[in-house]
Each structure stands twice: as structure tokens, then as C-alpha cells.
């Protein structure tokens, strides 16, 4: 196991390095610069600025300097938000995205599982269709439309929730719904289809013939065996959700990290682009790694091939 983790870790470092290099190249290929402004600045001021941020040096030197600082754990300072360090910017905004993201993940796993199980247990019956229609309607309304609608209806008209911000627990409700509506449907459908398959598998039939009740079968046997794809899906859902959603953060005025994915590029804020890329990649790699481990735990077959036969 330790060797497995170590080799995974080495690979993560390698991919990070490749990623950093690719992003660095791509970012510098984009027209525009972090130091441009609409009003013309004198050539001299422009030069002073470039010298200040080291942009006057050849790209390869800039790249070297960046790597050197990175190894020391220094992500640099933003070129747009004067003297704010990139690591602090990411940390303080990630706090919000993480909280909202966790809330959305828990919601989607719970709601998605309920819908999926109901649909599978009543396969081809009314409840199956109903559960799927509910799930798919949630999926079919883009958050672009859902978020402002929720906001207008529940915050402006009914005044049940706040329009914006993330100050109290109630403030999580609307953004969580908007954020989770897609994943709920995805999990419900995934769970439904694998579970229908599992319910038709021999071991379930055996369990049925032994006289176990439908509920016990579903909870004890079928669910565990149907969780595999959901766990894989959670691997990247987690990364996607906790790193924030631009639309939902923007509409609900949440100071999360999502906006930086757009803002860093529009500002050509090089250190921030790099920082966000590295941060996102690490989160993604780690969550996928955890999902891999979880997969091993959930899937007995994987354990057999993993050398722990004889369970």
C-alpha cells in the first residue's frame, strides 16, 4: 500500500510539473498582458512595471524563477490585486467554496441515492418514472436559470432566504439546491441503472430465494454493490464542486474560488493563473486518489485482484 501511495505521489509530482509547463506556455501565448490598462501609460511606466514583475526577462528565465519559488512554496503575488499573495487569495476564497461544496455533495449523494434506489426498486413502475422525471427536471434547468429564479422567488418575493452572501446556515439552502440539482440527477440515474443490474444478479436472486425482504436486500446487498460507479463519479464531482461554480458564486454573491478561473484569465494575472491551475490539479488528483482507495474498499473484486484473496 505504501509503495502504491508513493508511486502515485511521484506521478502526481510529474503531472504537476508537466501541467505547470503547459499552462505557462499557453498563458504566455494569450494576447494581452497583466500590466496593460485602457488608458495609455508612458512607455517608461510600462517598462518600470515589467521590470518590477520580472516580465522583461526572457520567458525561460521567468519560468525558471517561477519553479524555483514554487519549490520554496512561494506562489508569488498577484499582478492585479496589488501585493496580495496568491496562496492567501486562494486559501481565503476556497474556504467558502469548500463549505458550499461539501453541503452540495452531501445533498446530492443523499437525494440522488434516495431517488435512484426508489427508481430501481420500482423499476418500470410509476415510482420509477416519477423519480426519474424529478431527477431529470432538476438536471434540465440550467443553474444559469435556476439560480436567479430561486433567488427571485425565495429571497425577493417570499423573503425566506437572503439574496446573497454566506453568513448563516440558511444562506446555504438556495446555492446548495442550485449547485446540487445536476449531480442529484446524475447520481440517481447512475445508481438506478447499476442497481437494476445488481438486483438481477445471481447473488441477489439467492438472497431473495432465501426469503430476505426487499428492503434488506437493497440496503445490505444491492446498494453496496451499486455504489461503485457512484464512488468513481464522486471522485471528480468533489473536485468540480468544491472548487466552486462561477455562475452560482456570482449570482449568490459568494466570495468563492470559482470566479478566479475566469477572472485570472481575463486579468491575465499570470501568478494567479498558475496558482489556480496548481491548486485545482492537486485537489483533483487527491480526490481521485481517495476515490481510487474508496473503490478498493467498496469493490470486493478489486480486493481479490489486489492480492487479498480469500475474504
Amino acid at each position: 500500500m505504501i509503495r502504491y501511495i508513493l508511486s502515485k505521489f511521484m506521478f502526481m509530482l510529474l503531472s504537476l510539473f508537466l501541467l505547470i509547463t503547459a499552462t505557462f506556455v499557453l498563458m504566455n501565448a494569450v494576447p494581452g498582458s497583466p500590466l496593460q490598462s485602457e488608458k495609455a501609460t508612458s512607455e517608461q511606466v510600462q517598462k518600470n512595471l515589467e521590470a518590477y514583475y520580472g516580465l522583461d526577462k526572457p520567458l525561460i528565465v521567468q519560468y525558471g524563477t517561477y519553479l524555483k519559488n514554487l519549490v520554496k512554496g512561494d506562489l508569488g503575488i498577484s499582478m492585479k490585486k496589488k501585493f496580495q499573495s496568491v496562496d492567501k487569495m486562494i486559501a481565503s476564497s476556497f474556504k467558502y467554496s469548500l463549505k458550499l461544496g461539501v453541503s452540495a455533495i452531501v445533498t446530492s449523494v443523499v437525494a440522488g441515492s434516495v431517488l435512484g434506489i426508489v427508481a430501481a426498486m420500482y423499476h418500470r413502475k410509476f415510482l420509477d418514472n416519477l423519480a426519474m422525471i424529478i431527477a431529470v427536471i432538476g438536471l434540465a434547468i440550467p443553474s444559469l436559470v435556476l439560480a436567479p429564479l430561486l433567488q427571485y422567488l425565495f429571497a425577493v418575493k417570499l423573503r425566506i432566504f437572503e439574496v446573497a452572501g454566506l453568513n448563516g446556515p440558511m444562506d446555504y439552502v438556495l446555492p446548495t439546491i442550485a449547485l446540487a440539482s445536476g449531480p442529484i440527477a446524475f447520481i440517481a440515474r447512475l445508481l438506478r441503472s447499476t442497481m437494476i443490474e445488481v438486483l438481477n444478479a445471481d447473488f441477489i436472486k439467492t438472497a431473495k430465494s432465501k426469503g430476505l425482504s426487499g428492503y434488506v436486500i437493497v440496503m445490505r446487498h444491492a446498494l453496496r454493490n451499486s455504489m461503485l460507479p457512484v464512488v468513481t463519479y464522486l471522485g471528480y464531482l468533489t473536485a468540480g464542486i468544491i472548487t466552486g461554480s462561477v455562475v452560482i458564486e456570482e449570482i449568490f454573491g459568494i466570495p468563492g474560488i470559482g470566479k478566479y478561473f475566469v477572472q485570472s484569465v481575463t486579468d491575465r494575472d499570470y501568478p494567479l493563473i498558475m496558482g489556480i491551475t496548481i491548486f485545482y490539479a492537486i485537489i483533483l488528483m487527491v480526490t481521485r486518489f481517495l476515490a481510487d482507495i474508496a473503490y478498493v474498499f467498496v469493490d470486493p473484486r478489486m480486493r481479490v485482484s489486489g492480492g487479498k484473496a480469500g475474504k
Binding site: 494581452g32 495609455a40 514583475y53
Partner: protein
């Protein structure tokens, strides 16, 4: 079998529980201070709080590196300079009690108040200004707006590194409370200019050797009516009244909360639910579609702003190197229809570049003295004739493919779509639309890679030179259409050297007239307005002449 199944479920359960606990823990922590705040604000009726939003957080609160409206709105409360512009855009004494100007208009001597204090307890002295200006001009500081100081003797040379001895800068502290400034050219508007944030003083103790001093609330040392209590980056700024401000009795707000929210509809919904007291003037904007109704219901008001919306012609290449073709395009835009149906905020049609809220002399505005409607009028028939003549002059049978470039934005898009349709109907010309994201757009526009490009210009200071020299002088870095008429250049240069304000303005107006009546160097569309909404009870909070929120001296009943 049973055993092997149990664990994963437990594992999942533990995960879910852990997530749940983390969540409640996080939100629990977060919740408490919010509640306390709510209690304190609601229970005590006397504390005056003013709340508004900004679309993005100030990139900098360091006077040397500030460049944008967001920063300047916050800085107006935090810092105090030599003068302050009143709501009409006229300079009034602030730290400078009075000032004297020499005969040649090149030397200004400011007498400073002796009761102004920094938030760290030190006194504000003339030396602080000298230090601040030298620091801004120091190439090491890499200030974007350093050129605002170029009026001062040797400023440009210091900024370019040509002079390394900063003591040669034309500014001196004669004593603790007397500041002498030498200019390289008479600039009659220098008193307005020193109200600009680039001219603000900074506290040497707080700033020296700490370039990051202005990026956190706890390290900022300021001297203005308000102190920065909290700066939660990307979330909000909280300002509180400065009890040691020399003119504290003029300040009524005890607390000012600035939330950073970009989405226009969200800002409007916050206003609707009484979470903010103000929208407009660069502090949030009223959704365009709602504006006419809100104005009709008297819920919103429209104020003119010293900014101009115009299109640039690329005058260096066909077809817009021909003045007649340029005129044809400019004369076939129905500006009033555009304003009534697209921009909807009662903007004023523009036939030149200097906006109506820019001051002239003797209490008249510049535009009242020199009406731009004299320059040209919309006229479709005339335009069609001019287009035909222009084509003949340039030896063309038909227009080449023309692209209108604008930066990505819903409002710009709607305007461009409407105008392209007017040209299609009035000139039978098909103009293509292209939008680029801001950074790319700026680069294309600077490099002249366009036929027609969107542009807008806002005032840095209240003088027509700011809209003429900067935009139609061939040497200006902002003249991206490369309009070049030596006569215009000559008139503008002369206006800079004139000490008589009226004579200077005459020359500016003469240049402007040539640029639009004869040459149509650019395509003016409209003078901006800003739509503002304010909660009842809030007074003296306004949009200033430049269309920036001016809240510092406001009060709440």
C-alpha cells in the same frame, strides 16, 4: 460475505457524517459573529450605517498604485489630499487651507492645516506629500498612474530613471506645513489635479520598505474621515468613522459596509430586500431593462457623467482613411433612437467628445459655451451622397468588408447590433460584428487591428483638455484610431501654454471643431449618464461629476 459488505457502508456513513459535521462546524462558526452584528446594528437606532456594493474589490488602496473607480470610491473615505472636489467637480480646500500661484502659473505654494493626523497618531506634514510623490515616481514603485504627476518639474525624468536624484523633483517642504510645487508648464487646472488620488500623501513609517502595506486592513495607515476596520478580500470592506479626523463633525456615517458583488441582478435584489442603500455611479448598476420603469416611477434618477461613448475609426486604412466615408457612417446613426431603445438611461447624443458635465468658465459648462450640435447633424440623404463621393475619391466601387470590434459585454453588444442595423438600413452596408475579451481587445485596439472599434473615455480631472489632447492629439497614446491633423495638434499644444483659461478653451474648441465638423476623426455616440437609486433617509450621497459615488459626507436620517 456479510462481513465484507459491512465495512464499505460504514465507511460511507462515516464519510457522510464527517462531511455533515464539518459543515455544521463551519457554518456554526460563521454564523455567530453575523448574528451579533445584526443584533448590535438593529437594536441601536442611532448608529448611522451606509451600505453599498462594488463590482470587484479595489485592486489596490495604495495611492501610488490605484488606477480604477472601485479604489477611488473607497480611497475617498480613507484618505485626505490637498484638495477635494465637491459634487460639481470643483476643488475645495482639504489639507491645504489655502494656496498661492506665481505670476507665470508655474509655482504653487500650499499652506497646510496643522491638525491632520495619521491613524498611527503621527501628524500629516508637507514632508508626507513630498515622500509620497517621490515614491510614486520612483521606477521601483512601478506606478501605473505616475504620469499624473508629470506636470511637476523633472517628474517624467525621475520616473524614467533619467534622473536618479529624486531631490531634483520640483516639490519642496518649505516647513512642516508649507508645500511648494514647481510645474514645468502652467496648468490652470492643477488645483483640481491635486485632488486626484495619485497626489494623496502617505505615511512614511507605515509605507517605507513595505510595498504590501495597503493590502490588509491592519497595515493601512490613513488620514481621512474613515478608517478601514475590516477587509475580507473579495467579500466586503467595513469602514468606521475616524474620531480623530480634523473635520469629524462633518461626518455622519458611523459605519460603512461595502459588499463586493458583481452580478447586476443580485445587486438590484439586495436593494429590493433592503440590504443595501445605494445603487449606481460605479457602485453597482441598475439593470438596463428596468431603468425606464424605475425612472418613470421616480424610484431611480439619472445623472449626467463626464464620460463619452464613441467608436474609433481606423484612419490609417481604407475605407476609413477617407473623411467623407467617416462622415457618412457618423451621420447615419440615429443616436436618439439608440438611447431611447437600447441604452435607455436618457444619455445625451454626442457629436463631439467633451461631455456636458465638464466645466467651462464663468459658471458655464464647456458644452454650453461650444455646443457640439454645431459640428454636424444626422442626415441620411447627405450621408448617402458623402459615401458615394468618398468611394469615388478613394477609387473604390464598393466598400470592403468592415468589422466592428467591441469588447465582450452585453451592453456593448446591444449597441453594436443596433448601430450595424442602422447602417444596413440607411447606407445599405453590411458591417460584421466581432467581440473580443477585454485583454485581447485592448491589444487589438492599440495595435490598430480593427476597422471600427468601441471606445469610451472618462474624466481624470475636470477640464476639456482631458477629452481632447488625450483622444485626438496625434501624439497621444490613447488616440488608437491614429487620427492625425497637424492643425488640431498645433491648437491643442498652444492651449497648454496659455495661462488664460478662456483663451485656452477657445483653442481646444477650435481643435475639436476641426476634428468633428471637418474630419470626423472618431464617431461620437453619446455622453454617459448614471442611473442611481438610494434608500429614503439617506442624504448627500451623490454621483460626482465623473460618475463616481461620492458618499463621504452623506448622512442617514
Amino acid at each position: 460475505m456479510e462481513g465484507s459488505f459491512k465495512k464499505p457502508v460504514q465507511f460511507m456513513l462515516v464519510l457522510v457524517l464527517a462531511f455533515g459535521m464539518l459543515l455544521t462546524a463551519c457554518s456554526g462558526n460563521n454564523n455567530k459573529p453575523a448574528n451579533d452584528e445584526g443584533g448590535a446594528g438593529g437594536g441601536d437606532g442611532k448608529a448611522q450605517e451606509f451600505r453599498f456594493t462594488l463590482a470587484s474589490e479595489p485592486p489596490s488602496l495604495d495611492p501610488a498604485t490605484m488606477t480604477d473607480a472601485q479604489s477611488s470610491i473607497v480611497a475617498a473615505g480613507l484618505y485626505e489630499g490637498l484638495t477635494r472636489l465637491n459634487t460639481d467637480g470643483e476643488p475645495e480646500p482639504a489639507i491645504a487651507k489655502e494656496w498661492k500661484v506665481s505670476e507665470d502659473g508655474k509655482t504653487y505654494t500650499f499652506t497646510l492645516r496643522d491638525d491632520v493626523k495619521w491613524s498611527n497618531g503621527e501628524a500629516v506634514t508637507a514632508e508626507d506629500f513630498v515622500y509620497s510623490w517621490k515614491r510614486t515616481l520612483d521606477p521601483e514603485t512601478a506606478s501605473d498612474y505616475a504620469y499624473m504627476l508629470y506636470y511637476i518639474e523633472n517628474a517624467e525624468k525621475i520616473n524614467s530613471g533619467e534622473i536618479t536624484d529624486t531631490d531634483q523633483l520640483g516639490v519642496k517642504a518649505l516647513d512642516e506645513h508649507t508645500l511648494e510645487v514647481k510645474l514645468y508648464t502652467p496648468a490652470p487646472y492643477f488645483i483640481s489635479l491635486v485632488s486626484h488620488y495619485t497626489y494623496l500623501p502617505v505615511n512614511k513609517t507605515a509605507v517605507d520598505g513595505k510595498p504590501e502595506w495597503a493590502s490588509e486592513a491592519k497595515t493601512i495607515v490613513s488620514n481621512g474621515p474613515f478608517l478601514l476596520k475590516e477587509w475580507a478580500h473579495e467579500d466586503k470592506l467595513v469602514l468606521e468613522k475616524n474620531p480623530d479626523y480634523y473635520n469629524a463633525s462633518a461626518i455622519n456615517f458611523d459605519k460603512v459596509t461595502i459588499t463586493l458583488i458583481n452580478d447586476t441582478n443580485t445587486v438590484y435584489n439586495l436593494f429590493e430586500t433592503d440590504k443595501i442603500d445605494w445603487i449606481g455611479a460605479q457602485a453597482g448598476s441598475v439593470p438596463t431593462d428596468l431603468t425606464p420603469q424605475l425612472v418613470a416611477d421616480k424610484k431611480a434618477v439619472i445623472t449626467p457623467v463626464a464620460s463619452t461613448y464613441y467608436y474609433l475609426f481606423n484612419t490609417t486604412k481604407a475605407p476609413f482613411n477617407n473623411a467623407k466615408i467617416r462622415k457618412a457612417f457618423a451621420m447615419t446613426v440615429d443616436r436618439q433612437a439608440l438611447i431611447d431603445n437600447v441604452t435607455k438611461a436618457n444619455q445625451q447624443p454626442a457629436f463631439a467628445l467633451v461631455p456636458p458635465s465638464i466645466a467651462g468658465v464663468e459658471g458655464k459648462s464647456y458644452r454650453e459655451m461650444y455646443p457640439d450640435t454645431d459640428y454636424f447633424q444626422e442626415n441620411i440623404e447627405e450621408a448617402q451622397k458623402l459615401l458615394a463621393e468618398g468611394l469615388a475619391e478613394s477609387n473604390m466601387k464598393a466598400l470592403p468588408e468592415i468589422t466592428l470590434l467591441y469588447n465582450t459585454d452585453d451592453a456593448h453588444k446591444a449597441i453594436a447590433e443596433a448601430i450595424v442595423d442602422m447602417w444596413r438600413k440607411n447606407l445599405n452596408v453590411e458591417v460584421k460584428l466581432a467581440n473580443q475579451e477585454w485583454g485581447t481587445f485592448l491589444e487589438s485596439r492599440k495595435a490598430g487591428q480593427f476597422d471600427i472599434a468601441r471606445s469610451g473615455w472618462g474624466a481624470d480631472f475636470n477640464h476639456p483638455i482631458n477629452f481632447t489632447y488625450d483622444l485626438i492629439h496625434p501624439l497621444s497614446g490613447n488616440n488608437d484610431g491614429k487620427y492625425n491633423n497637424p492643425e488640431v495638434a498645433k491648437l491643442l499644444d498652444e492651449s497648454l501654454l496659455t495661462t488664460d483659461i478662456k483663451a485656452g478653451m477657445d483653442k481646444i474648441a477650435a481643435a475639436e471643431k476641426i476634428a468633428f465638423a471637418d474630419d470626423m476623426g472618431a464617431l461620437p455616440l453619446y455622453y454617459y449618464t448614471t442611473v442611481t437609486m438610494v434608500k429614503p433617509g439617506i442624504e448627500n450621497v451623490v454621483s460626482d461629476y465623473a460618475g463616481h459615488l461620492d458618499w463621504v459626507f452623506g448622512s442617514k436620517k
